[in-house]
Amino acid sequence: MTAPPLRSQAATLSYDKRVIVEDLTFDIPAGSFTAIIGPNACGKSTLLRAMAGLLAPAAGQMILDGKGIASLAPREIAQRLGLLPQTAIAPEGITVAELVARGRYVHQRLLRQWSAEDRQAVDDALRLTNVTELADRRVEHLSGGQRQRVWIAMVLAQQTPLILLDEPTTYLDIAHQMDVLNLLHELNAAGRTIVAVLHDLNHAARYASHIIAMKAGKVLAAGSPAQVITAATVSAVFGLETEVIPDPVTGNPMVVPHDTRA
């Protein structure tokens, strides 16, 4: 078993003085498809930002490939890890291909702004996310789902062994949600470590190899889907009573909420 590419060591994360995540220790297993689940505002995005080196922990540290992330330069981090943030802005008038090419920043230099590898990486990313036909369209004219796939393409173009995605399936219809998850699965099967914040527990149960369940800035459970997706954990994390039954298609755990209508 190879060493975890990313680990959180007693990390405490806060904005100003407000502590959001306290004393968090966990590993992202090498080669895993890790899903982070938890209720709104529990600190998932905050955690992802810290894991990407964008937010310095108030205490503890994030370790990327054995080194404290704070000691790495932005370029060194960007060669190892790509992030799809929850809030990214498409500049007015930018085309799809131009936006995806922005993911190549770390591979470019002042006097090498475009290479054959850049072209290849952008083409591959467009193809994998199924947006090749949109390449010359303006991003602001796309639907929410198309736009989401373009952002994922930008992260793919960066070609990092570790990819963090904050809610990659939001805005997508069920078919496109499956497309994106299948894509992440393929990337994972091809050797990349994936960490995704997912809101749909059934998606997490089906696609993830490792699940981290958070509540109010703490990890309540971490492990395989069978270990984490249980009625007891779901109740503890979301305060929702559910039945967990085997997914009729794959046999993974499947969450069916109780009928709570008045």
Partner: protein, 353 residues
């Protein structure tokens, strides 16, 4: 498209790859066309600027001057008065425009610019104070101007810090600080000796009347040095328009890039203000006008510089020759820029509500 052709264009067909696969730069076709057209107009208007005036010259008289011949008076008119002034207009316009472009890029807000946000007024305050307390020597004025610009920036930064550099709050604080500094300047001018006040208020509206080769050369040199630094920050600044998190996670050192851009922008506006006083609205409007003309996603910094130079040159020609009385160029830019600002505010208000 053939592979050969595709390697000659960048991510989109409008981006040309200049150079070969290992060493190259990307050039936006549309921005290049805008820059070249504005550049041609700049050359034509500079020739006009040298020929026109109370003492009209012919092309052959001017050619004589450049060949080292010609009457002493003609030489003085061309080399001491008109050419330095035209060159100052172009250089200062470029400096202001690029300064505005840097501000608008790092704040992601088309309303951000050193004139709206009080940096030019701050530079002017610093200059008046330097004039009163340190004497009117040129290095003192420049130092005062630079210190004033930095101080204004620091005040705005501290007051708006809570929200970071984005958002309307930053701009609003800037507009407030600008108004306060404007009244401070008026008050200072009322307190100082009459001759000092006259000297200082000659700059108050922003003018190129006092340009001489002696002031142009050091200022022009500083401006060109600062402009040469811009390409080094333009790539990370381009990433910044994706949002801080996306920019940083693609590998851009956003903190240092932002700081460098602010320092360059303040340096540019202070260098201009030290010589010509606060010339309003070029910094605000040139970047957005250029971006619309070029149709690019981000403000093209190079083309913005050329368009800014053209705008100030045109404004100065209007100020000198079109209006019967000779006005400071700042008055012309205020009037045309004011109209632009109203349009921009209406548009922004519509977009944000």
């Amino acid at each position: 498209m053939k592979l050969e052709n595709r390697l000659r264009t960048g991510p989109t067909p409008s981006l040309l790859v200049i150079g070969h696969d290992r060493t190259n730069i990307l050039l936006d076709r549309r921005a290049a066309v805008v820059a070249a057209s504005a550049g041609i107009l700049v050359i034509i208007l500079m020739i006009l600027a040298v020929l026109l005036g109370d003492f009209p010259l012919t092309i052959s008289e001017v050619m004589d001057v450049f060949l080292g011949r010609g009457e002493a008076l003609v030489r003085t008119v061309v080399l001491e008065w008109r050419l330095p002034r035209a060159m100052a207009a172009v250089l200062f316009g470029a400096a202001l425009a690029v300064s505005g472009a840097l501000f608008q890029t790092i704040t992601r807000n088309p309303l951000a610019s050193p004139d709206i946000m009080g940096l030019a007024n701050g530079s002017y305050s610093g200059m008046i104070l330097a004039l009163v307390f340190l004497g009117g020597s040129w290095p003192m004025l420049v130092t005062g101007s630079l210190a004033g610009g930095l101080a204004a920036a620091a005040i705005i930064y501290l007051l708006a810090l809570r929200d970071g550099l984005q958002g309307f709050r930053f701009i609003m604080v800037g507009i407030g600080v600008s108004a306060m500094l404007a009244s401070l300047n008026t008050w200072l001018l009322l307190r100082v000796d009459l001759d000092v006040a006259l000297l200082a208020s000659a700059w108050g509206a922003g003018t190129l009347n006092s340009i001489t080769p002696a002031t142009l050369i050091p200022t022009g040199f500083s401006i060109m040095m600062l402009l040469c630094l811009v390409p080094a920050v333009s790539a990370p600044l381009r990433q910044l328009s994706l949002g801080d998190d996306a920019a940083a996670s693609t590998g851009a050192a956003i903190g240092p890039a932002r700081l460098a851009a602010i320092v360059i922008a303040i340096g540019l506006v202070s260098a201009v203000t030290a010589v010509s006083g606060p010339i309003a609205f070029i910094a605000l409007s040139a970047p957005q006008i250029t971006r619309r003309l070029a149709g690019t996603a981000e403000i093209p910094l190079g083309a913005t510089g050329v368009v800014g130079g053209l705008m100030l040159l045109v404004s100065d020609l209007v100020a000198q020759h079109v209006i019967p009385l000779t006005l400071p160029v700042g008055v012309v830019t205020v009037v045309s820029g004011g109209l632009y600002l109203v349009w921009l505010l209406v548009r922004e208000a519509r977009r944000t509500t």
